[in-house]
Symmetry: none
Subunit: 219 residues, 2 copies
């Protein structure tokens, strides 16, 4: 059970705080806006309306006891974000995650003590764009320089067959991790006797050249 400090309870901050809480951890949430405090008060036990740039408040919080401090103040108040990050660092924060809008803001945040800078809108924009581009490969993730994960619609040669028949590991050198039919729950690992259907979404992992070979079975 860990303790986290979340400063700024916009959509992003509230989501960080909520997810940590749902996973059984202790969260203290700070925001200067009453409306934001109200919006999360049912989901997050310890919330405090205050100005996080107030040095008295921060020093009263035992900053060193938090596993991590997450600064989720938006671009509108980027100077607050920078000041809060600096103050957290001065108060001995173990780990500071901060949100930014632009790379330049990110650089400043790193300089004043952020260990990690997040660009939520920019990152999600890239992911959405990539999933639109690879319309039959839904998502692609690099695990290590030679190994990747591929999420794709089941290629034609898998349809109507099951894993025992397909023998993916030996024939293609890829491992299937999960299958999702028709927007149902993702099943991982897929049962050995499950017969794949058109439009099933499968997640594979393997070496890049092995994955390429499988993709080219479509042509």
């Amino acid at each position: 059970k860990k303790q986290f400090l979340v400063i700024g309870l916009g959509r992003f901050g509230a989501s960080v705080a909520r997810t940590l809480t749902q996973n059984g951890h202790n969260v203290i949430g700070l925001d200067s806006a009453e409306e934001r405090i109200q919006r999360v008060s049912e989901e997050i036990a310890d919330v405090m309306k205050c100005d996080a740039t107030d040095t008295d408040i921060l020093s009263s919080l035992g900053i060193q006891d938090f596993e991590a401090c997450i600064v989720c103040i938006g671009e509108k108040y980027i100077q607050n974000s920078i000041l809060v990050t600096l103050l957290l660092k001065e108060n001995g924060a173990k780990k500071i995650i901060a949100k930014a809008g632009t790379k330049t803001q990110g650089k400043v945040l790193y300089k004043v003590g952020a260990d990690m800078v997040i660009y939520p809108e920019k990152d999600m924009g890239e992911r959405v764009a990539r999933s639109l581009i690879s319309s039959n490969i839904i998502d692609f993730l690099e695990v290590s320089p030679e190994i990747s994960i591929l999420e794709m619609r089941a290629p034609r040669m898998m349809i109507g067959k099951d894993l025992i028949e397909l023998n993916l590991r030996h024939k293609y050198g890829v491992t299937i991790i999960s299958v999702q039919s028709d927007n149902q729950k993702i099943i991982s690992p897929p049962p050995l006797d499950y017969k794949f259907r058109k439009d099933d979404v499968i997640t594979l992992i393997g070496e890049n050249k092995a994955l390429k070979r499988l993709r080219f079975t479509e042509d």
Copy 2:
């Protein structure tokens, strides 16, 4: 080479448009704010300052020719977002992706024709929270909302055993992707008869709750 329409060029929309452009696709970007148009004009070839709720403008655009239309208007103007989505649907858009802040807004967007609703801040908040929770495991990567990859030292119960004995897939519902002994090359997939040693670094993939169960075998 595909054509995309991006409406709303905030951080999220600009990132979608930029990523599509960088990947060689044609993007038309619309925004009613001059400052937003200026901000992206160097990176996105076709941008137009206009009110996207203007039916004349939308009908002049050949909406049916776009691979997808991405509505990235923020919560501040959610009514615009809803109206634009409706108009795109009426104009025969093949695929509409829309951004929303809350689930309720998302429901309305689906009702008026969105094929996919994205919650950038909420999703990134969850990802950040989850990567913070698993900090005693060397690395953690989210593959999809329910499935993650975990890199960890081989848990005690694996040491001295091989995969046939361990039967990870059936006992724990996780798939082992790779093993790395003593900073040697990463081996993927691990041979079925390889006996795991203390400090081996293994990479697993599976549903979040399945991975949790495996981690708790340490206690």
